[in-house]
Symmetry: C2
Subunit: 515 residues, 2 copies
């Protein structure tokens, strides 16, 4: 970074440049002010690694607009950028933002060797302190998601570190849910360096960062949820998966494949998924987290009878249900390597746990019944304030900027179908209370959790695969309880009546993210 | 029973009858002496329940011959029977034995209600004291197996109790392996009554006694092997399955079905077995016993990589291997109720055990390498003395007298095939050392165990289902180790060269035993 004492005269020079720009500006051409930006950010907005100036090329225009506004009003402090941003009118900012957004970042470099880099925080997080993996909000490839979650890949390490420090110091603010302040505040200097170095080494537009399942384990497996965490998921005495590396042997490879599927089923269980949901969407911390149906607890609880199926299910058959309902897909056949890998991964996590269907931590932590009956209208307000940033205004979810899956859709054609467990409002309320907003579990009131669950589950979604031929018949057979909105009328509309039949497939991912 | 003081004059009267028999005797007719026998045992040898005189009708002739000889030489003491037996010449005895053996016992009565009867010893044994279930040697229906193991079903309770007491007191002896002395010596008076009452209530020729899987659990599940038992299977610290009743709910029904399959796969997994072997043949005490690959230990060890298959197997796939190799059958498809039930039963047994592939008690307890290389000739001597009684002179096993499966075949067309784990001589030696002779585990020396294992596994058996088209090729691919005799020459004969191809089905059971 430039030393602070050099910033003021430098900024003055740039301001002069900006002042001259009106003379050159023309629509769809290089904005005149870009010359000023280019002094630091490079002629093509490619940034300056050595100096720690970030890349602008390919950054979403809305994100750039937000940042310029933040510089202008001081919520993001920078001696250089503040006066520049203030000098730019709204139209100028928009021109610049569009200009840089349209520049395709340099072609992916040959993948830099990542050996020795600590990828734990970046790829897995540290859920014992409620720190999610960076990629969960910034995209599998660190390529960013929407305007809210900027790309990290291939930004200069010094820039990334400086931003984390800015969040820590409060010189960068304005994150609507307060996520980055909270997360950055928990990072040590070593953590900051590790994350910054890691993403700096990732080429923009690289293949997904999720570790190849065949790759050697660079570091130990991630740490587990600590039941004493501050979230709503507290369950004293719950089992804690061992924090040991997955062995690099035949069994370990199945475990790693299982984890890779768990993180990205659309890629590693291709053909079996029908939407963008991941196993980790409902089973946080890669299936470890108490309060989000941890897989180690499920593993030691099967075989078991389930009323939903009306017979005794093995663990593998239970997982088939996730594909069929939550992922609105096609269950891998029993014995398929996908199921074997998921079973191996779950077994691995559960090692040392006693076989016990009443193991502490199983399933969700049900919040108490709310004081007021769950209400969609109140839920809609909560949703807009706390959920829409990630899941979209219309519950449609968000793909990452490079087309890889981002935040899951909560309703509509790309969400879980009417047969899924989350259709049960009490399940959804339990999950939300413990885990939502993402990494801020426990911060909603019980009433808010119930209300927003009611709101989410009062929307249309793909048809129940058990559809009997009529919504009424399907409701009687499978949904005849208070907790399911299927077959109920909402503002005159009969839920289930326009459900997309099973077999819907999600939008294709873009090539960059396909493995 | 008759009071002892009445026996002497009664015997004298019978002796007079016997003395007169020469005058009437004619081949294939009722032997004259039968009139004397009939005084106590009934005109058709039906016995006398009230008096406690045993049924002779249908008893195997060889068994009757053995008993008459035992009465005559005093190894079986009876004031009434001793003088009578001594008075009968060998030809007379044979005539009587053939006569009674040929009488079909009275048609099965309507099954007596068994409620309230304690069937634990009869059907499950008490392996914590190395007491096997009665039915394991006397047949599923208590109908007896060969000359060595007489029918118990429908004999008078007083007679059965008196016999157990005679074994206890030593007034009945002559069991070649000393089994009954040892077992009876461990029974309490209550045990004796329970067993006697139980079998007295079973109609001769009844359907198999193995409890119907859907039936309510009359008593608690059987007790488990205690690691501190005197057998060779001692493994301190091994897990002990809980001794709690299987619940009478949907899951419990799957568990019970699994146990029923485990005890009698030919009946409850019909169509998937290719021989008479049962799961309990190799996994004693219904899968609980340390030293015979207990199922609870296997359950917590899968999924796991296995070199034999070359990939990671789930527990269900591992069990498929038992059907394919040890049972020389056809594996039930994954998800088949047979596999789900076996998995449920194993899970139920393992409840409370930690998931851990290195759990104490897993697999077999390998005996030390023997001082002398294992030797078939020495093994043949051991076999004749300690094994042939149950498994037959030619390793062919023994069906029960009513046609239901009895003792498993150890080689030949009805035994495990060349792909089974027991083909590995070290596995067989380990199993034998801990568990054989049945309920006398640990009584063979290590050398004897290795020798007899070598002997057993040096016989022809069904082809390896993985057969490549040539014995040599199959050996190279699957058997190229010291511990397999497949493809080796024994007295000039190439093992594997005349193996029956897979698909062989066992002799049909007789109708009486089919459920």
């Amino acid at each position: 970074m430039l030393a602070r004492r050099t910033e003021a005269p430098f900024a003055a020079a740039l301001l002069a440049l900006v002042a001259s720009m009106g003379q050159v500006a023309a629509a769809h051409a290089t904005p005149a002010a870009a010359a000023a930006c280019g002094a630091c950010h490079g002629a093509a907005g490619e940034g300056n690694t050595a100096a720690g100036f970030p890349r602008l090329a390919g950054l979403p225009a809305a994100y750039q607009m937000e940042q310029l506004a933040a510089f202008a009003d001081g919520t993001r402090q920078s001696a250089v950028m503040e006066p520049l941003a203030r000098a730019l009118g709204l139209h100028d900012r928009a021109q610049l933002a569009d200009y840089y957004a349209a520049i395709v970042p340099k072609a992916p470099r040959a993948a830099a060797p990542r050996t020795g880099l600590d990828d734990r925080l970046a790829l897995r997080g540290r859920w014992s302190e409620e720190i999610p993996a960076c990629v969960q909000c910034h995209g599998d490839n660190g390529g960013g998601i929407g305007a809210g979650f900027p790309p990290l890949a291939a930004q200069p390490a010094a820039y990334l570190a400086a931003q984390l420090q800015a969040w820590q110091k409060g010189t960068r603010r304005g994150d609507s849910l307060g996520l980055m302040e909270r997360i950055a505040g928990k990072l040590s200097d070593a953590d900051v360096s590790a994350v910054a170095d890691y993403f700096a080494a990732v080429p923009a537009g690289a293949a997904p960062l999720t570790a190849s399942p065949g790759a050697a384990e660079p570091t130990a497996a991630p740490t587990e949820s600590r039941p004493e965490s501050a979230s709503g998921a507290v369950q004293p005495g719950a089992f804690t998966p061992a924090d040991v590396p997955i062995p690099d042997d035949d069994f370990g490879r199945a475990v790693k494949l299982g984890r890779a599927i768990f993180d990205d089923p659309g890629r590693y269980a291709r053909g079996y998924t029908g939407n963008d949901l991941r196993c980790t969407s409902c089973h946080l911390d890669e299936g470890r987290r108490v309060g989000s149906a941890p897989m180690w607890a499920a593993y030691v609880s099967y075989p078991a009878y389930r009323a939903k199926e009306g017979h005794v299910l093995t663990f593998a058959e239970r997982v088939q249900g996730c594909f069929r309902y939550s992922m609105n897909g096609r269950p891998p056949p029993l014995g398929d390597p996908v199921l074997v890998a998921l079973e191996s991964y779950s077994y691995w996590m559960a090692r040392g746990a006693p076989l016990d269907p009443s193991i502490a931590g199983r399933g969700y932590v049900k919040p108490p019944k709310p004081a007021l009956a769950p209400d969609r209208a109140r839920g809609a307000v909560v949703y807009a304030q706390r959920c829409a940033l990630c899941h979209g205004e219309s519950g449609e979810g968000r793909r990452a900027n490079d087309g890889s899956p981002g935040f899951p859709a909560l309703w509509g054609a790309d969400s879980y179908n009417w047969g899924a467990g989350m259709v049960n409002v009490s399940n959804a309320a339990a999950f939300i209370k413990s885990n939502m907003p993402f990494s801020l579990g426990g911060t909603l009131t019980d009433q808010e959790a119930w209300d927003v669950a009611q709101f989410v589950d009062s929307h249309e979604r793909p048809q129940d695969p058990r559809y009997t031929g009529s919504v009424a018949g399907t409701r009687v057979r499978f949904h005849d309880k208070d907790n399911s909105m299927y077959g109920q009328r909402v503002d005159g509309y009969l839920l289930g009546s326009k459900s997309v039949p099973p077999g819907h497939r999600p939008r294709e991912r873009v090539a960059a993210s396909a493995g």
